[in-house]
């Protein structure tokens, strides 16, 4: 059965369509492996027996025209799933069971997918190591004691460890791409407005975007094709012509112009990353792409800008978790006391830190100096990209400034933790699509990723570039199953 879980989504779909595998066989294989993988702590909520029931039902009357026929999929626990507990990695939503389904997950069920369970993540997606989850650390399948990255850490670990053939994460400042990079998997953050935010527990509304995480680029393209739809329930959803990403996927990228931004050569960046980047440039050239040196002058302001905008929005988005309507409520002497106790006990320290930062930057007297200024800088960062996209089709950078670090290593150093997002946040601030693909290993044998940033709505372009480079890189993830006894 283990050969089932090591298959890509694309081959599983093919095997089911050709009736070489049943949905039940596939589902049981992933359930079985998930059961044996408790030590990874990838899941917050398992829905295994329901999944097997659903797979049996699918097999009784299989609709093989669907794009994800009977494919079991576990998703990040930030997507509201009807009748299945949705926690956002927080104590405050420990017993919250939505009566509704997020648009993005509904899209995959509509194409025949079956829910395996809900995957661990940093609390309210705030974190870069999955260490802020109320439901505990996630282990990186690459090595024991290693973080899988965050916030979609459970998702990355589940794909990398083959507990699910594919998954959906969310990316506010790098939460898909950084864990993909840390676990040797592929992760796409689509253009803002590409995937509906309806039913996704909000972190920072102007930055949040759902996206696919997978073993390879082809699978990623297929899932993006399914989850990206225009949705009138989300006022920021954009009605643009979406491609048949998997069908239009091509390795022919000859003559594509790829920009290399000099500002991404940050101080103190490990040599290995620098070398990986150089290798990436060579791969791109090998594929026939043209390399152009570019400048994104406001890059250094992206991280501080992000850590004003995102907490500001979060401080307001999380105000609804007040113990009044749903979720955790602490007993209090009066309303204010109840609020204070509920939110002090219900939110973890990182979430509280960001609520405080956000509240501060929006408060009168500080608004102009922080929030308003950050919005102006955000515009400048976007202008930088607009400017270079007159000359290039895409931009190539490392995904992260380092490989995966040890659990606990950065937990008490928020600034060093925030620095993880240095290459990914400009993309969210500008609302652009970007993909991280595994591109090599560091000296410890830990995966490193390269990021390809595209023009708005040009997901196909970066998928093609990633597809072509993936072929050249020929990366193989080393999964030893160390956690399986």
């Amino acid at each position: 059965m283990s050969d089932i879980t090591s298959q890509t989504l694309t081959s599983l779909v093919k095997n089911i369509k050709e009736k070489k595998l049943s949905s039940e066989e596939v589902t049981k294989a992933f359930v079985d492996r998930s059961e044996k993988s408790k030590e990874l702590n990838s899941y917050i909520t398992e829905d295994f027996s329901n999944a097997i029931d659903k797979s049996k039902k699918f097999d009784e009357k299989p609709n093989l025209d669907l794009k994800l026929p009977g494919i079991p999929i576990a998703v990040k626990d930030l997507f509201c799933t009807k009748d299945i507990r949705t926690t956002a990695g927080s104590k405050i939503l420990e017993n919250f069971v939505p009566t509704y389904e997020s648009t993005v997950t509904q899209n995959i069920w509509n194409e025949g997918a079956i829910l395996l369970g809900k995957l661990n993540c940093d609390e309210f997606a705030m974190g870069s190591s999955n260490e802020t989850s109320f439901y505990g650390n996630v282990q990186n399948p690459i090595d024991k004691g290693l973080v899988p990255g965050g916030s979609s850490g459970g998702s990355a670990a589940a794909v990398s460890g083959q507990l699910t053939p594919i998954t959906i994460g969310t990316d506010t400042g790098g939460s898909i791409r950084q864990p993909a990079s840390f676990t040797g998997t592929v992760g796409l953050k689509p253009t803002y407005g590409s995937c509906s935010r309806y039913g996704i527990v909000a972190f920072a509304s102007s930055l949040d975007q759902a996206g696919p995480m997978s073993q390879n680029v082809e699978d990623c393209a297929l899932l993006q094709e399914v989850i990206s739809t225009y949705d009138n329930k989300d006022s920021t959803s954009i009605d643009f012509k979406r491609g048949q990403y998997s069908k239009e996927l091509t390795k022919d990228i000859k003559g594509k112009k790829i920009g290399i931004p000099k500002e991404y050569r940050v101080e103190g960046m490990p040599k290995e990353i620098e070398e990986l980047w150089k290798k990436g440039i060579e791969y791109a050239k090998d594929c026939g792409a043209e390399i152009i040196d570019i400048s994104l002058p406001n890059t250094s302001y992206a991280l501080p800008t992000y850590y004003i905008v995102a907490p500001a929005e979060a401080s307001s988005n999380l105000a609804r978790y007040d113990g009044v309507k749903y979720g955790f409520r602490a007993k209090g002497e009066n309303l204010i006391d109840m609020y204070e106790k509920t939110r002090s006990e219900g939110f973890g320290s990182e979430v509280q830190r960001r609520i405080m930062i956000g509240t501060y930057v929006l408060s009168s007297g500080y608004y102009d100096a922080y929030y308003l200024k950050a919005q102006k800088v955000r515009k400048l960062i976007k202008n930088d990209f607009d400017e270079v996209y007159k000359k290039v089709d895409a931009i190539l950078t490392p995904s992260t400034p380092s490989s995966a670090f040890k659990i606990g290593e950065k937990k008490n150093d928020p600034v060093s933790m925030y620095l993880n997002d240095i290459f990914t946040v400009p993309v969210n601030l500008a609302g652009l699509p970007a993909i991280s693909i595994p591109a090599g290993l560091d000296s410890a044998g830990y995966p490193l990723g390269l990021q390809i940033i595209g023009k708005a709505f040009q997901e196909q372009e970066i998928l093609n570039l990633a597809y072509a480079m993936e072929d050249k890189i020929n990366f193989k993830n080393k999964i030893t199953d160390w956690w399986i006894k």
């Binding site: 997507f79 509201c80 949705t86 956002a88 939503l93 919250f96 939505p98 009566t99 509704y100 997020s102 935010r197 309806y198 039913g199 996704i200 527990v201 909000a202 920072a204 509304s205 102007s206 009138n232 329930k233 989300d234 006022s235 920021t236 500001a312 929005e313 401080s315 307001s316 999380l318 105000a319 609804r320 007040d322 009044v324 309507k325 749903y326 309303l335 609020y339 509240t359 929006l362 408060s363 009168s364 608004y367 929030y371």
Partner: protein, 491 residues
Amino acid sequence: MSKENSEYLIERYDNVYEVVIGLEVHAQVTSNSKLFSSSSTKFGAEPNTQVSLVDAAFPGMLPVINEYCVKQAIKTGIGLKAEINKRSVFDRKNYFYADLPQGYQISQFKYPIVGEGIVILDMPNGQKEVGIERLHLEQDAGKSIHDMDPQNTLVDLNRSGVALMEIVSKPDLRTPDEVSAYIKKLRSIMRYLGTCDGNMQEGSLRADVNVSVRLKDSKELGTRCEIKNVNSIKFMQMAIDYEANRQVDLLEEGKSIDQETRLFDTKKNETRSMRSKEDAHDYRYFPDPDLLPLEVTEEFIEQLKSDIPELPDDKKKRFIDEFKVSAYEATILVSDIETAKYFEEVVAKMGKNRDMKLAVNWITSELFAVLNNKNLEISDSPICAKNLAKLINLIKNGTISGKIAKTIFELMMDDDKDPQVIVEEKGLKQESDPKALEALIDKIINDNREKAIEYKNGKEKLFGFFVGQAMKVSGGKANPKLINEILKKKL
């Protein structure tokens, strides 16, 4: 407070103070569904039965603007002769309260949908213009109920997310009477437009009142206090009167006024401090990232403009020109759209030989008195416009006397009966045949010979006696004009 005089001044020893008032009116938009969700807005439903996932702020729920509410706000802006902003922005006003599920209210702070406008007040001593600062759209909160359970506060979210228009006036009002006129005019305009039903009992129209005082002839504004959520015109006037005098007393004692928010206690007829400026909420306004800026095109606005009905000011002008009613009468007739409609229908049904004076009098005195007594709106009038027009025509063409008309009017109220039918059934037609009346009078003179002689000898006030006798004998049906003429001739 004087009703006749528009001046409202507070005197203390040698000092004369003027009161400066500005209003923030919260008007509920007439709309079947809420500002950002499809829940019903119907008044009086069971608690928490009109609440969507969006209204209750469930995780991952997103607001989607209701286009109809946007149209309503723009129409109101047009009615206020105001600037319509083609681009406006929804902001979040952040604060915690049990009946505010999102932890913020979606409102418009920096860029409202409607800018400066004007409302014209018809005061006894002439017209007065009151400036409108702005109109913006916002969500209503739910309702906290503190007195149903001894231990807990209960929350009803039916109102949560209902669309409100906040209409902010400039500090142009000077007297409680102007405040009353302003509220009534605003209400009238919105009712004409169908954008707010103006029902103060149901809370569709509420106001925060800003009051400050200054020495008469001073140009600078004094420190203001805001009196929260006063929900009747009478209470607004009482609150202003109390608050202005409180402020004057403080100044006279040499004290200063603290800028603060106050509550009006309707039982004690006083305002009380709710929170000072220092304790004021920091609402941390910022643009709502779940909503794009609201952009409307010139065509969209023009289309709405073309749908605007005749508004009270224009209607008043037309009534004066077309129907030759006085300005005072026109003001009364147009103040409420239903009254104006009724009046116009009466006029139409009266036909060619119409009598405006009679129509105005019958509506504003007889009909209004009945409606008042029965506590009815004119739209629910027991006598329809068509029948009232018929009654007026019967008077006008001499079929009945004014006095008989009042009797018929009473009878009409039962089941809105046709006055013509009543006249025939009850035989109430006025006797206007000169021969019949002469015979009647001859008989009366004959029966009262002594009095007739006295009259001839100069006791002129006996004339009234003979008129009375004629009316009595005829059962009130004798044409009084003819009786007069014949009596003069015969006596």
